[in-house]
Structures are given as C-alpha cells and as structure tokens.
C-alpha cells in the first residue's frame, strides 16, 4: 500500500492485472478443478485495472465531478473475484446514471477508509451525490514505514506477535469500538451528503438502519460474494435510494 497525493491505494497503479491478492492464478487453477463444466470462469477472464492512485476505478480527472457517487470499503467493494461490470459500485452507478469513484483498498479497515474519505472531501471540492460505505472488520489496521514509503495491511490473518497482541487488546480495551464510532461520526458530519452504510454478511452493523452484502453465490476466488450477490445487493441499495 502506498500514498498517492495523500490518498492510500494499493501498490499496483496504472496497470491491468489478470489476478490479484487472494484471487491468484494458483487459486484459480485449484478452484477450476473443483467446479462444474458450466462454471462461468472456465470461459471468462477478469481484468483488474488499477488507476494512477492504485484504486480499481477511473482516474479522478476521468470522472464527471458534476454527477458522481463515491464508494469505499475493502475487497468486497473493490470487487475481488469479479469482472468490473459485475461489481455493485459499477451496477449502482449505472442505475443512478452517473459517474463513480471507488476508493476501496482490499484488506484494509477503518483507518484507511476514514483517511481516504477525509482526504477526498478536503481535496475534491465538488461533492458526490451520495457516498456508499461498506464498513470493514473494525479490528483491521495498517502500519506504514515512512523510511520505505510502504504500508502493510494487518488483521485477523496476521501472525506477528505484536499484531496479535494489538488485535486482542484493541478489542478487550474498547479501542476498536471507539475508533470505529469516532470515524463514523467524523465521516457523517464532514461529508454533508447522503451516506449509505452497510457491511459484509454478518459483521456487526455500524448503525441502526443497515444493509448487508450477503453471499448467495461465490466470486472466482470462491471466497468473496459473486455475480448474483452483487446484482441483488445493487438492486436493494438502489431501492433504498429511490424510496
């Protein structure tokens, strides 16, 4: 993970990749062997196009800042394991007939989400029509090495003893609860535009009125939500917006 003009993005920028992260080529080969002959991904490829800020999105200067919406979250919002056209950000923006920017960074948590949104709001003067926030697991965090200008994602998968101690004690002391709610309050009061909050599956909600992205089918990596899940979720969110 790197900073690009103060935004945090993946290490991959200005590049198109056939596989990324957990949706690796090796995983694909393993998954292929277990899937039926009509599995969609036997015959369809995925292209991950990352822009100049390491986001799976058009560049800022390519979006219509007079008519756009903003998405942020983790890998579920990036659409890992899905073609771009099957991801819920793409589908919702199509339904709303507007441009969109996707600030999400896979495997990251509240700190990156809050940071990117606050930087967006303070940098891009034109406001989005709406902001869609997929709140990630609240215990995730990043560490950033200023000397080498590289950040790394930490979470339940970390095996570093210090990371594990921080994850356990962050939960037990209430640090993560406070961090989550402080971020939510700051974002809501700073954005001043409609915010739609939701999370993945059964993660603990961040508010009262809440939706969740369920997993009714699998993406190519057999780990993230699939094509039907994203389409159904886009329908649900769009219905919330229009009602």
């Amino acid at each position: 993970m790197k900073f690009y003009d103060d935004f945090l993005g993946t290490d991959d920028c200005n590049i198109t990749l056939p596989f990324v992260g957990g949706d690796s080529k090796r995983q694909f080969i393993e998954n292929s062997a277990t899937q039926p002959p009509d599995w969609y991904y036997h015959t369809h490829d995925i292209s991950y196009e990352y822009n100049s800020f390491g986001h799976r999105s058009k560049n800022i200067n390519q979006i219509d800042l007079d008519n756009y919406v903003l998405f942020t979250g983790c890998s579920h919002t990036t659409g890992i394991g899905l073609k771009l056209e099957h991801t819920y950000p793409y589908l919702i923006s199509q339904k709303m007939q507007c441009s969109y920017y996707n600030l999400s960074v896979p495997a990251t948590g509240i700190d990156v989400l809050e940071h990117n949104l606050l930087i967006w709001i303070s940098t891009i003067k034109k406001k989005p029509r709406a902001v869609f926030i997929q709140w990630p697991d609240h215990s995730r965090f990043i560490t950033y090495n200023e000397r080498y200008s590289v950040g790394s994602e930490r979470g339940s998968w970390s095996d570093d003893p210090a990371d594990i101690a921080l994850l356990v004690n962050g939960e037990d002391t209430g640090l993560f609860n406070a961090r989550k709610e402080l971020a939510r309050k700051l974002i809501i009061q700073t954005i001043k535009t409609p915010v739609y909050s939701f999370n993945y599956a059964n993660l603990k909600p961040y508010g009262n009125k809440y939706s969740s992205l369920s997993q009714i089918d699998d993406a190519r990596d057999l780990s993230h939500s699939g094509i039907k899940s994203h389409a159904s979720f886009a329908d649900k969110i769009y219905a919330e917006i229009t009602n």
């Binding site: 700190d111 940071h115 930087i119 950033y144 921080l166 004690n169 406070a178 961090r179 700051l186």
Partner: protein, 204 residues
C-alpha cells in the same frame, strides 16, 4: 467523556463549560477574533486556576478570545476528532490553532454500545500490552502519519505546535514547532512571541 453537538468534551463538572471544555461557552466566544487550543493535560492545566493556564495567558497577551478543546489524556484521538469537528461545526476561522500533546499515543475507549467513553487507563495491563504492541509494530506511528496528513488538509488556520522534551509531536508538516518546558508562564511567553511575529508578517 461525552459528545456535545458533535464535539467531544469531558463529563459535566464545575471545571468545564456546558460542552465539557475548560473555557467560556462557545456561544460567548468572539468568533471574529479567537485562537483555538487543542491537546491534552498540559493544555488543560487542571492543577492551576484557569487564569494561570497558557491558553488564557496567550489570549490575554494577544488580545484575542480563545476556545480550549483539550481533553484529559485524550491523546491524538481527541485532538484529531475535535479539530476536524470544530472545522465542521464552527464556520468562523480562528486566527491561529495551538496544539500540544503530552500523551499523543493515548487513546479513547468505548463500550460496544458507545454509551461509555473515556481515556484509556494507563494502569490497565491490557492497555500496557497494547502500548507495547502498537509501539513495536508501528500502529501508533502510522496513526500519527495518517492524522498529520488529514489535519494538514483540513485545518484552516496557521498551526503552532508546543513540543515538550522527549515527547512525540503530533504533526510534522505545515506546523510551526515551539520547543517548551512544562511551565505555563514560559509556554505562554514563547507561544505569544512566535504568534505575534507571524501575525505581524502577514499584515499588509
């Protein structure tokens, strides 16, 4: 600790105004001529009368009004939250922002229902373990890097940072550092001198 119209303040007490801050009421503040203070224990000066604290002394010397957002043991969490919220809540820009933090790595904790808010307890063994872990893996350093970048973007006035010996400063960019001893009179003198010089510089 609780929220008052978006700002984070102390629980009600005779020491604080109705927003839980050690200064006059926000509604009484001269928004055309004020300095904003934020930080933690030193900025509060709870061991002395308010008239002997450096926010009061600086504002008297510079003939300005002031508001003090400092939170006891609030660390970077409270400082960042309140400065950004202030920017959202109060339209009038301060003439200057003065920050200080004795305990930048301190953090705020809350229960899962967000009813109880307080500064972490340094005597709690889990807090101690968390400090050790966060200093080892870079959690606290990273928190400062992120906060610094956001505060540089969002703060809308010159920022002066009181830096105490052996204490980690919160901000590294777009800030005027003032190295001070932990003595309110001396802090006030130094801060007043630096701000006065800067204000003279920007006059036409």
């Amino acid at each position: 600790m609780q929220f008052y119209d978006e700002l984070l303040g102390h629980d009600p007490s005779d020491l604080y105004n109705s927003s839980g801050h050690r200064c006059k009421e926000l509604s009484d503040l001269n928004l055309h001529n004020y300095i904003l203070f934020a930080g933690d224990n030193v900025a509060l000066g709870l061991d002395k009368p308010i008239e002997e604290t450096y926010p009061y002394l600086v504002s008297q010397a510079l003939k300005t009004d002031y508001y003090n957002l400092a939170i006891f043991n609030g660390g970077l969490d409270a400082l960042k939250y309140n400065l950004i919220s202030w920017n959202n809540v109060v339209a009038a820009k301060p003439k200057a922002i003065v920050i200080s933090s004795e305990f930048a790595n301190s953090f705020i904790v809350a229960d899962s229902s967000y009813v109880t808010w307080k500064a972490c307890d340094y005597n709690d063994s889990k807090v101690k373990d968390l400090f050790d872990a966060g200093n080892t893996n870079g959690f606290f350093d990273t928190r400062r890097v992120l906060a610094n970048k956001v505060l540089v973007k969002i703060t809308n006035a010159p920022v002066y940072q009181i830096v105490f010996k052996d204490k980690v400063p919160v901000m590294t960019d777009n800030v005027t550092n003032i190295n001070c001893e932990n003595n309110h009179l001396s802090i006030a003198t130094q801060v007043t001198d630096v701000i006065r010089k800067q204000l003279v510089k920007v006059r036409p």
